[in-house]
């Protein structure tokens, strides 16, 4: 019986591409401190995203082996101020090690001005039509004064990775959210459907 070298994977496919963090870090000298790693999921953005390993702490070998790593993170061409801890996601087979001779190229790409559009997100949004009517009725019932503009504040999830800025008080946002369908991203899907 001859053993063939070809590995055939059986099971569902995944979007991940690469190795787990432990597979990378465990094979490197000094656990790869100072080396650059990349998550291939973030390679979908035009701007470079990479992480520089600063500190590594090993963890016990479990079914999905994790490792605690602190990194200096550059996300979409912007370096974050604080160190980021990677632990919960370290088991994902989605990390790539950048060879030393390619690091310079990656750094060079960052130095260019990041070229994603400077979007300012709005602070408020108009109410949906039924809610407007409901609120008018409610205010009448309680004998409160009727509002003259039907807007409500928007809230956003806060993440250090946020690229788009939220408008400050009195600032004019560059985009506006509405309660309607909005402008379709791919109009081909709406062929023959009247949009208003």
């Amino acid at each position: 019986m001859s053993t063939s070298k070809v590995v055939k994977y059986v099971g569902r496919t995944t979007d991940f591409k690469g190795k787990t963090l432990w597979e990378i870090v465990g094979c490197l000298k000094n656990f790869g401190v100072g080396r650059i790693i990349v998550r291939s999921v973030f390679e979908r953005y035009p701007e470079p995203s990479f992480m520089k390993i600063v500190k590594v702490e090993t963890c016990p070998d479990e079914e999905r082996r994790r490792v605690r790593v602190w990194v200096e993170k550059t996300f979409r061409g912007r370096k974050l101020d604080k160190l980021t801890e990677i632990y919960r996601t370290s088991y994902k087979p989605d990390y790539k090690l950048i060879p030393k001779h390619e690091e310079a190229k990656l750094f060079a790409a960052v130095k260019e001005e990041h070229y994603f559009p400077d979007v300012i997100l709005p602070r408020t949004i108009e109410m949906p039509p039924l809610m407007k009517k409901f609120i008018v009725k409610d205010h009448e019932k309680k004998g409160m004064e009727i509002l003259n503009e039907y807007i409500m504040p928007l809230s956003y999830n806060h993440s250090p990775n946020r690229v788009q800025r939220i408008a400050k008080e009195g600032e004019k946002p560059t985009i506006q959210f509405t309660m309607g369908l909005g402008k379709p991203a791919s109009p081909a899907l709406y062929e023959g459907v009247p949009l208003n």
């Binding site: 059986v10 099971g11 569902r12 496919t13 949004i125 109410m127 949906p128 809610m131 409500m152 504040p153 928007l154 809230s155 956003y156 959210f177 309660m179 369908l181 909005g182 379709p184 991203a185 791919s186 081909a188 899907l189």
Partner: protein, 213 residues
């Protein structure tokens, strides 16, 4: 949650045998025969993906805004309620309390009067009952004494026939003079033959006696 599907799954097998009537419970692992059955990955075109992403993002933003609005409104309402209760309605509450106390006192007085009356009646009844019982007890006692005295009288009467030391010799003599024999025999017809010395008639004698009679 009971989905339409699950209801169908439960009721269908009663009506007709369905291939999918029995399913693996959710918590069991993949069946051995299904290990290599790999579901095909859904293919979503790029256009559709972008559009769906946009629509879903919009929806989430809108819903977040609505939820936040109502959450803030709830908090505002609660705070106004609390402030109202702390200042303005405190006086109202005190008045209400005063009113409640008065009403309570009135009710208490009413109940006390009723209770007093009831207690009096109960006491009377109890007294009556006790008196009746004492009387009954007295009567019983008297009856008992009468019965006892009757018995004593009878015993005294009987005592004249008792054997005393003075009459002992006489009694002995009398007994010796009249000996009594308590032995007896019995035949099949139940006739008693007192004494030891009485001869027992044979069957034939009996028959003859019967014929003569």
């Amino acid at each position: 949650m009971i989905s339409r599907n699950s209801i169908l799954k439960r009721t269908w097998p009663m009506l007709l045998q369905c291939a999918e009537a029995h399913r693996k419970p959710r918590w069991l692992p993949v069946a051995k025969s299904k290990i290599y059955r790999i579901p095909k990955r859904p293919v979503v075109s790029e256009e559709e993906r972008i559009e769906l992403l946009r629509i879903n993002n919009n929806y989430k933003t809108q819903m977040r805004a609505i939820r936040r609005f109502y959450h803030e409104e709830m908090i505002k309402e609660r705070s106004t309620l609390e402030s109202a209760s702390s200042e303005m309605s405190q006086r109202l509450e005190a008045e209400e309390w005063e009113r409640c106390v008065q009403l309570n006192d009135k009710w208490n007085a009413q109940v006390a009067a009723e209770r007093e009356e009831r207690r009096k009646k109960e006491f009377e009844k109890m007294e009556e009952y006790a008196l009746a019982r004492i009387e009954a007890k007295d009567k019983e006692l008297k009856e008992k004494i009468a019965q006892a005295s009757e018995r004593i009288r009878r015993q005294k009467e009987l005592s004249t026939t008792f054997i005393t030391p003075e009459t002992l010799d006489e009694a002995i003599d009398h007994a010796l003079a009249n000996p009594t024999d308590y032995n007896f025999a019995i035949d099949l017809e139940g006739q008693q033959y007192l004494g030891r010395d009485i001869p027992i008639p044979s069957k034939e004698q009996k028959r003859k006696a019967a014929e003569n009679n």
